[in-house]
């Protein structure tokens, strides 16, 4: 971390991880090699993982705007909470391989890579999914 040119700060939408991330941001901006040499500062970006849009909507967890206000970094990606992440870890396949196979997290990681490389990709999976026609019809 001391030698880093870029830093991706990972946080969950909860206060404890945001506060730790905040501390880390301060640490990187003051104690990194770039800071010590007086070079261009480390480019930091924010990655929110395990984001649940429904719960954020209900106020049960921090929302993206809350986190951004708290940390003041550019958002590089929001990874939705997904059951497939655990399966992928156990299988030894990174989640991004599920891109285009109907998994939100894979697509979100792929978008994040594009954004990191400079593309201007709109955020996906950050608003609650609209309930489908049948769900609306029959209830949950």
């Amino acid at each position: 971390m001391y030698f880093a040119d870029d830093a991706v700060v990972v946080t969950n939408p909860e206060l404890s991880s945001c506060r730790d991330a905040d501390k880390m941001i301060g640490f990187i901006s003051s104690r990194s090699r770039r800071a010590e040499l007086g070079a261009k500062p480390v480019e930091m970006s924010l990655l929110i993982t395990r984001y649940d849009a429904d719960r954020a909507e209900l106020g049960e967890s921090l929302s993206i705007t809350d986190i951004q206000e708290l940390l003041g970094l550019d958002l590089v990606g929001v990874i939705p909470e997904s059951k497939s992440i655990l399966t992928c870890t156990n299988n030894g396949t990174p989640v991004i391989t599920l891109e285009g196979k109907g998994d939100n997290a894979g697509g979100a990681y792929s978008d994040m890579v594009d954004r990191f490389l400079g593309a201007d990709t709109p955020m996906r999976y950050v608003t609650p999914e609209e309930p489908s026609f049948f769900k609306r019809l029959f209830g949950k």
């Binding site: 001391y2 730790d20 501390k23 104690r31 870890t89 990681y109 792929s110």
Partner: protein, 279 residues
Amino acid sequence: MHVIWGSDSVCDFRFKFKFTTALDNKMLQSIRTTAGRSAGAYGPQLAAQRFKSTKSKCELESLNGTSLKNNPNPCRKTAKKHTIITNPKAQATTISAVPTTPKTTIPHAPAPSAASMQAAHTANTAHKLPPPDSDPTMGRIVAITSGKGGVGKTTSAASFAMGIASKSNTVCVVDFDIGLRNLDIHLGAERRVVFDFINVLNEECSLQQALIKDKRVEGLSMLAASQTKDKDSLTVEGVERVLNELCKKFDYVILDSPAGIESGAKVSERLSMVSSLKN
């Protein structure tokens, strides 16, 4: 008499010679022509060797920054330089064992310890990372970090690295969570780990031996963390040397940091300690 002469000749390699002895103009002229010719025609290493063979009393110091910049194959040359300049003992003996020519007297002969210290310093700078943004051919170091543990750093690092590698970049992802390696499981390479980061750091194997190529994506490699050693095995100089090597090979070097700020703080502390020792 002190004569300091710098030459920005053909290969932009600068030598600084300090003559601690009184030299007459004729001898100075002959040295100049020898150095100029050899630096121009054969490159810096041969010039250095030739200089040793002329047995004039000079301390040879290469200014590292300029030499690395225009170097087409920095890895090989720094290795060579290491063998030539950075053998403090040999250099010290050359200096002390050379029979003095009648015209030169040494009022303040350079102490061998000073010479060896300088040589050691040159050795250190050869493995150092160049200043940030100074060399566009070097890969970028991306740290995946968070204060708290369990937020998905390793998961993100694995996916991020694979994503960047699939966009036709060369990527190496390094597991810095020494003692608790996990990244190899995320990438499905746990059975392929033979050598790890600490082995490379302690020079028990080459970097090439420790790099594990991913079986799915071309251009993605991994450097696993050690499970038997702890964070105390990391040294600033060692990490810098390995990162320097990695940056020469890859477009992106992704570091999967451990949770907490303790290890990073320690690294910074050590660095300030080292720099104060140098001063």
